[in-house]
């Protein structure tokens, strides 16, 4: 379809169907049934088989006309894309529309207290009963689990196979007695994540994704979707067109809830953008020692930017060759955040002790100093990134494995 054709068809649809006085769900139901909610999805599943370029035309029209699109923010996108790729026909029919309309919120139940970096070492049990799966165990780092309706879950269905082969992937109803969600308060005072306790929780037999024992393959697909999101930046969610009308009011409420876990995320990156202003305001910029550390920070932030530009230029020109962009960029972000926190501390001096609205930048500097430790852990620790760089880029030999053979024989936490 030509781009003009797409534009004309969409404009006609919007003229006929969109009104700011509709409820958010009612409007999105219309979008879903017409295939405009997720145009790059297949025709058979609520989409239009559009290419990336064609889908871009759609989002441009949405932005121009300040029209509300499908629900996107948070872990629901991970669930949707995974179900689309690996789910059964029935699963797609049942779950996808209500993800797009925003009626159902989702969460990710992967990490456990006993398996963090070693995700495949999950030890939440999935025991097959006559007409359901019985789930027992504990999950952690579950963003938005406290208002999720469903979760994507990795659990161990076979303890006699090697660890990667004994996992299965489930869709679990979060609104049941066997599921308890507790907020997990972080060192910076926010509670963006939860712990989820699963005690004889049930999953219907046909809510298994990808088949029994295929959990690692499906989880890997989810993680790769998550990394693509990291690479594109988190702000790719629905725009918030500030207009009057019921649909906009309901969207604003939805976004407030969805974005709440992420308000402190800029601070975990060290806020290098505030350094120069702070140094000038405080006069610290005249101090030669501070200037040296500021210059080191500029070196890092500029080099990271230039390096990322070079990688994308290289990829655009169809360039081959190993460009270790992802892990190096992630490691660089950690170094930048730490150096920025170090310089902020030098600039503030003794005042770096103070927090709260009366402190520097209404508390943003203090929040930065106590949020930076997260950057080198979230999304794969620095140590894991270094393993990846050393083994996959530099080709250094893999560590000897201690976790082969039946999973039940592998030494684990708490045993």
């Amino acid at each position: 379809m030509s781009h003009d054709g797409i534009k004309a068809a969409l404009e006609a649809f919007l003229d006929a169907e969109f009104s700011p006085d509709l409820s958010l769900v009612e409007w999105r139901k219309r979008l879903v049934s017409a295939g405009w909610a997720a145009p790059s999805w297949p025709d058979a599943y609520f989409g239009r088989d559009f290419s990336q370029a064609e889908a871009l035309v759609v989002s441009q029209v949405f932005a121009e006309r300040r029209v509300v699109g499908a629900a996107q923010v948070g872990p629901r996108r991970l669930a949707a894309e995974t179900i689309l790729a690996h789910g059964t026909h029935e699963q797609k029919q049942r779950y996808l529309p209500k993800i797009l309309t925003g009626e159902h919120a989702w969460c990710q139940l992967f990490s456990e207290p006993g398996s963090g970096s070693d995700l495949a070492g999950a030890s939440t049990r999935a025991d097959r009963k006559a007409d359901h799966w019985l789930i027992n165990g504990q999950k952690v780092w579950n963003t938005s689990a406290h208002h999720a309706d469903f979760g994507i879950l990795v659990a161990r269905s076979n303890w006699d196979l090697p660890k990667h082969q004994g996992l299965s992937y489930f869709l679990i109803d979060m609104r049941q007695p066997g599921v308890e969600v507790r907020p997990l308060k972080q060192m910076n005072g926010h509670a963006s994540f939860n712990e989820v306790f699963l005690t004889d929780a049930r999953v219907a037999l046909d809510d298994l994704v990808g088949g029994e024992g295929q959990g690692w393959a499906v989880a890997t697909a989810t993680l790769s979707i998550e990394r693509q999101g990291f690479a594109r930046g988190r702000s790719q969610g629905a725009p918030a067109p500030a207009s009057a009308g019921r649909v906009y009011e309901e969207l604003a409420r939805e976004l407030e809830i969805d974005n709440e876990p992420y308000t402190w995320y800029p601070q975990r990156e060290g806020r290098p953008d505030l350094i120069l202003q702070r140094a000038q305001e405080t006069g610290a910029i005249e101090d030669d020692a501070v200037r040296q550390e500021m210059a080191k920070l500029v070196c890092l932030t500029e080099a990271a930017r230039i390096s990322a530009d070079q990688v994308s230029a290289h990829q655009k020109s169809g360039g081959q060759g190993m460009l270790p962009a992802g892990s190096i960029g992630k490691l660089g972000a950690s170094v930048i955040a730490r150096q920025a926190a170090h310089v902020h501390t030098m600039i503030s001096g003794a005042s770096a002790m103070l927090s709260g609205p009366e402190s520097a930048f209404e508390g943003v500097i203090a929040e930065t100093l106590i949020s930076v430790p997260a950057i080198s852990i979230a999304g794969g620790t620095d140590e894991i990134q270094r393993n990846i760089i050393a083994e996959r880029v530099l080709g250094m030999p893999k560590e000897q494995r201690m976790d082969t053979g039946p999973f039940r024989d592998i030494p684990r936490n708490g045993q």
């Binding site: 210059a295 500029e302 390096s307 250094m396 030999p397 893999k398």
Partner: protein, 369 residues
């Protein structure tokens, strides 16, 4: 402005790479390090006549090839990779850029073609190699052009045929030419940590120089940027070579029944080294693109010099450490790059000076904006 090398530039890099791979082997480097002049005239004439390298970055109207800092960077990187021993940096880069930036029209027309085709090996006599503002403290010219003073470190001072000398005048700085053998010029070899790049002290006692140009603070800064970025490329080349060879070493060396490269302590160190190298390399290349695109002063040349120097030095330290005792021996080649890293680190300003300059430029541009 460019973001990555063009296809032609990549092709040029391959050609230069092959040349130095063949003509600057470690065996050749070790042999030349033991000589007084420190270079092989045959290789010099090949790289001058066959490849025309010394004229790469010089304007066509003065016998050069009219390319710029990016192509020069490619050459310097390959030279750093193989520790090429010869007067390229002293003659083509230091003297070449000094003439191009400071000399008057007649002097450029007369002298640059000889630098560009490699037929004359010149060097620049700067009495300070730390900071542009300190140049001219030790060497002065009187009104008749007689030069008196000394420069403690002159690259390839013993083998150069012509000196270009920056000297203090009644007001400002001037550029002078002097035959190396001229009366009043005394040249004595200095021992350097880095045996692959020869240095000498040049002492002048009323030597009769020819005044060929003026050196303004602006042109001296630009000269410093151009030469610093060329040197940064050399350092990146050296650091890349060290990382490649160090990683190979950890794959082949067995202790405790396994290759030492399988230990996380070493993997993590190598991963950090690669990140530093990628960042320093990106910055150095970007600095070359900036110099090629505009005369505007930016932070990038100093940023490149500071980052490349820290990266090369850290890489050299690690290259020895990861080899253990063998890395500290004379027989092992690693120390050759370590010593080049140490000398490049301080040549044209140690990293802290370049970081200070970055901040000065950042603040100036802030004030303008």
């Amino acid at each position: 402005m460019q973001t990555v090398l063009s296809d032609d530039q990549v092709q040029f890099k391959h050609v230069v790479h092959r040349f130095f791979d063949t003509h600057s082997t470690t065996t050749a480097v070790r042999a030349l390090a033991e000589t007084e002049t420190g270079f092989d005239p045959l290789v010099w004439s090949q790289l001058s006549e066959t490849l025309g390298l010394p004229g790469t970055h010089l304007p066509e109207q003065y016998g050069g090839h009219g390319f710029g800092p990016v192509e020069l960077g490619i050459i310097q990187e390959e030279m750093g990779r193989t520790l090429y021993c010869g007067p390229f940096f002293s003659s083509a880069v230091m003297a070449g850029y000094a003439l191009e930036r400071f000399a008057d029209e007649a002097a450029k027309t007369e002298r640059l073609p000889q630098i560009a085709d490699g037929s004359i090996r010149a060097t620049l006599v700067l009495d300070d190699l730390n900071h542009p503002s300190q140049v001219g403290r030790l060497i002065a010219a009187n009104q008749a052009g007689a030069l008196t003073g000394s420069a403690p470190i002159v690259l390839d001072g013993c083998s150069a045929e012509v000196f270009f000398i920056v000297a203090r005048e009644d007001s400002g700085l001037g550029l002078y030419a002097l035959a190396a053998k001229a009366p009043g010029a005394e040249v004595s070899a200095q021992d350097s940590i880095d045996m692959t790049r020869k240095v000498a002290r040049v002492t002048l006692q009323e030597a009769a120089g020819t005044r060929i140009g003026s050196v303004t603070p602006q042109s001296l800064n630009r000269f410093w940027d151009l030469t610093s970025v060329a040197l940064a490329h050399e350092m990146i080349g050296g650091a890349s070579r060290l990382l490649d060879e160090t990683v190979e070493y950890t794959k082949g060396r067995y202790q405790f029944g396994r290759p030492i490269g399988s230990f996380q302590a070493l993997k993590h160190r190598c991963a950090d080294l690669l990140m530093n190298l990628e960042f320093a390399k990106a910055s150095t290349q970007h600095a070359g693109f900036c110099l090629a695109a505009s005369d505007q002063e930016t932070i990038y040349p100093s940023m490149a010099k500071a980052m490349a120097a820290d990266c090369f030095m850290e890489m050299a330290r690690a290259a020895i450490q990861l080899r253990g005792g063998i890395g500290f021996t004379w027989e092992n080649d690693t120390h050759l790059w370590f010593k080049r890293a140490k000398c490049d680190e301080v040549l044209l300003g140690a990293p802290y000076r370049h970081r200070a300059r970055m901040m000065d430029i950042l603040q100036e541009t802030q004030d303008v904006a």
